[in-house]
Structure formats: structure tokens, C-alpha cells
Amino acid sequence: MIITRKVEFSASHVCRIPRLSEEENRRIYGASANPNGHGHNYVVEVSLEGEPDPVTGMVLDLKELKDLLNREVVAPYDHRFLNYEAPPFDQVVPTTENIAREIWRRLEPHLRGVAGRLHSIRLYETPDLFVDYFGEQGSREAPNSGEAPCSA
């Protein structure tokens, strides 16, 4: 069974690789490369997979998940400029893909040993563009998957 909890945060970001020229950054990231940044109302859907506990009938108390999301996602990201205020995005380009992976990394250690395991992170940058991330396990098919260091 898969259970999902949704949470929102509003943040600004800019997608640029410092060692590349203005022209190259514009070619890769389009308007998202605007040096002064811009913002989104991000929506995160966190899905856990597991069987309901035979006594409680729950995979995980969604209140616990809500508290975890507030602590690990909303508190550090909401109403922040990600590049300046939310490491590792001072080093890593805060694309939708990289934010989804970072949210996975923040949450996954807290969800070990509970009845449900983390299944996926869906991150909406806008209602018309979203990314699903399934963890490193889900990257076995991807030979070149890796970090996106923003090497200055």
C-alpha cells in the first residue's frame, strides 16, 4: 500500500553554473538563470510504501509524517532563497531534480525502521512541471547518475 502526504513551501532560487558564461547558463536554464533569482510555490508529495500495522490499521501515523515534513522541508525551505539559505544549494544547482533528491536524503534516514519505507518524492515546481524521484535504488539503470556539483 502506498500512502502520500502533501506539503507546500514557497522559495526562490536561481539555476546557474558559476564557471559557465551568461550565454551558456541562459542556453541551459533559460529564464531560470536570471541572476537575481525568482520563486515558486513548490508542492511536495511524499509517498511511503508498506503494510498497515495489524493493530493500528496504519502504515505510519500521518501526524508523525507531517511533523517530520515540517521539520525537514518546510522549516529549512519555506520563504527562503535556496541558493543562499539552504545548503547544499550554495554548492549544488537547485534544479527540481536536485531539490527532490535532497528532500529524499533529508527524510529517508528518519523513515528507516518504521512500518512503511520511503517510496518516492514528487516535487511540483509549477502545476505543469513535476519530478518523481525514487531514491538511489531507482537509479540502477542510470550509468551516469550523479551529483550536480556547482563547481565554481
Binding site: I17, V93, E97, N98, V131, F134, P143, N144
Partner: protein, 144 residues
């Protein structure tokens, strides 16, 4: 591995009528959708591509390239069109949303490597919402 999904919209008309069936059969199978003059929908299309995030850019899909592909292959030919009359594929095939999904998937697959020359990303699936309550999903591997 990431799945990146982009949502697009276009408005089009169609009529569901199979020349292989009689008048009564068409009416009983397709109901109001068999109305001789046709009718229209605001179609919502979700296109999902799968791939690793590039080590340098942090992107799994170049969204501008995807937008350009979908605009040329789907939005421009189908937007504000009569699917039965204006699309060759639907002269002989009933433009149900199932068949529309197949046609869109074929068009994207045929032109995918020109838009995305590398190994990744790959087209994973498309999803069509004909209305908010009628939704059709097709995996790219399900068709040739």
C-alpha cells in the same frame, strides 16, 4: 533516476463513429460522442520522460527541448483542430482518447532522438485527460 513530467493543454473536436459498425451500433457504443456534428474537449496531456540527472547541470530533461517537440508534434497539429477531419491518422481510426494516446506516443517516439540525441532521457509514458474524470495512460513501451 528521475521521472520528469510536463503538462500541456490543447482544445480539439472529434466524433466517435466506426465505419465498420451500423448506425444503431455506433449510437449504442459511443452514445453522445457519436453525435454526427462532433463535439470538443479541453485535452490535458502529461508527457513523462525518465533519466538520470546530468552531473553538471542537475537536469534530467531539457524542458525547453521537450516543449519544442510537443509543440511541433502535438499542440500545433491538434490544437483547435477537428481530429477526424484534420489528422490523417484519424481518417481510418476512431479518435477515441485511447487512439489519440497511441497517435501522440507514436509522434513523440518517431521524433524523440532528434530532440534528445543521447541515451537519456527516454520517453516513459503519456497521460491524457479528456475531461477531469476520463483519464487515459499509455506506456511508451506498449507501442512500436
Amino acid at each position: 533516476m528521475f521521472r520528469v513530467t510536463r503538462r500541456y493543454a490543447f482544445a480539439a473536436s472529434h466524433r466517435l463513429h466506426s465505419p465498420q459498425l451500423g448506425v444503431e451500433e455506433n449510437r449504442s457504443i459511443y452514445g453522445k460522442c457519436n453525435n454526427p456534428y462532433g463535439h470538443g474537449h479541453n485535452y490535458l496531456i502529461e508527457v513523462s520522460a525518465r533519466g538520470p540527472a546530468d552531473g553538471a547541470t542537475g537536469l534530467a530533461v531539457n524542458v525547453a527541448a521537450l516543449d519544442d517537440l510537443v509543440r511541433r508534434q502535438v499542440l500545433e497539429p491538434f490544437g483547435h483542430s477537428n481530429l477526424n477531419a484534420d489528422t490523417d491518422a484519424f481518417h481510418s481510426v476512431v479518435p477515441t482518447s485511447e487512439n489519440l494516446a497511441v497517435e501522440i506516443c507514436r509522434r513523440l517516439k518517431r521524433n524523440w532522438s532528434a530532440a534528445f540525441p543521447g541515451d537519456w532521457p527516454k520517453l516513459e509514458k503519456i497521460r491524457i485527460a479528456e475531461t477531469e474524470r476520463n483519464i487515459f495512460e499509455l506506456g511508451a513501451d506498449e507501442i512500436e
